[in-house]
Symmetry: C2
DNA sequence: CGTAGTCAGTTCAGATATTGAACTGTACTC
DNA sequence: GAGTACAGTTCAATATCTGAACTGACTACG
C-alpha cells in the first residue's frame, strides 16, 4: 500500500485501510486478541498471504501489536493498540451503514446499558450531537 | 467489486467502498454536485478509468445519481443520494482518525456553531453518547 | 472557415495486486 | 512413527490498476 496523499486525512487513512480486508481484520480484533488461524477462520475467504501482508502493514502502522505466546514453535497473536481501537469508530460507521441494506447479525452495543449504538457526529466544544444535515466538510486547500 | 459477504454489514459495505478511491469520491460529493472533470481534479491522482468505474458502481448501488446538465454533448454531473450522504459518517470517522497522524487541512464542522465535530458512538435508546471503552461488537454468528 | 480548447469519458498495454492451492518447518498427540 | 495443528510462505494464474494516449461532440476565438 503506497502512500499517496499526505495532505488529506481521509486519503491518508485510506492508504492504510482502503482495501477489502484490512478493516475486517480490525473488526475482529476489536473483540480481543486473536491468532493467525482465528483471524483466518473469522474473516470469510481471506487468503493467508493477504492476511499476512495486512497484519504486517497494520503492525508497521502501529495499529496492531504482534505478541509471541510460544517461543519454540514461534507462535504469535495479534492485539489492537490504542490507535487501532480508535478505528472501531470507522468499523462502526461501516456497520451502521451496511445494516440498512443487509440484515444485521452484528451490532455495536454499549456495555453498560446493553443497547445498540450508532455512530454520529458530535461537537466536543458545545458538548452536543450534530445532525448530519448540519455538518459540512471544509478545508483550506481541502483535499 | 464482487459481492462476497452478505452476512456481515461491515463486509457488505466494504464490497462497495473497500478500495482506495471510492470514499474519496464520496468525500468530495459531500460538498455538493460535481462534474467528472471536477472530481478528477479534486481527487489527486485518480485515473479517469477508475473514476468512471467507481461512479458506475456508486450509481448502481444507489449512492450517487447521474444527472445530465447538457443534452447534446452529453454531459452529466454527480450528486449523492440520501443513502450516499449517510456515508459521510464513514468519511468523517476516517478523517478524525487520519487527523491524529497527518496534519489536517480538512475538517467536519457544525454549520450552526462553526466548531469542528468528531464522530462518536451514541445510544439512541438512552439518548447519550457512549465512550469507546464501553462499546463492544456483538453478534449471533457474528461476522 | 479553421484552429484550439473543453468535457466526459474510453481504450490499451504494461505494472501491480490478489487469488487459490500447495507447501514448509516446528512441535504436539496418539 | 504417523497424523495433526499452527503460522505462515511460495508460486503460477488471474484480476485489477495505472498512465498515457485517444474519441467524439461540441464551443470559443480570430
Amino acid at each position: 500500500m503506497i502512500q499517496r496523499s499526505v495532505r488529506c486525512p481521509v486519503a491518508a487513512t485510506l492508504d492504510l485501510v482502503g482495501d477489502r480486508w484490512t478493516l475486517l481484520v480490525v473488526r475482529d480484533l476489536l473483540r480481543g486478541r486473536l491468532r493467525f488461524s482465528e483471524l483466518r477462520a473469522s474473516i470469510e475467504g481471506i487468503p493467508p498471504a493477504i492476511l499476512s501482508h495486512r497484519l504486517k502493514a497494520l503492525e508497521a502502522a502501529g495499529v496492531v501489536v504482534r505478541r509471541a505466546y510460544s517461543e519454540h514453535p514461534p507462535r504469535s497473536e495479534y492485539v489492537l493498540t490504542a490507535k487501532g481501537h480508535r478505528l472501531g469508530v470507522v468499523v462502526g460507521a461501516l456497520a451502521n451503514w451496511g445494516e440498512q441494506f443487509a440484515e444485521s447479525d452484528l451490532a455495536l452495543v454499549d456495555n453498560q446499558c446493553g443497547h445498540g449504538v450508532n455512530v454520529i457526529y458530535h461537537c466536543p466544544t458545545c458538548e452536543r450531537t450534530a445532525p448530519r444535515s448540519r455538518v459540512r466538510i471544509v478545508g483550506a486547500n481541502a483535499r
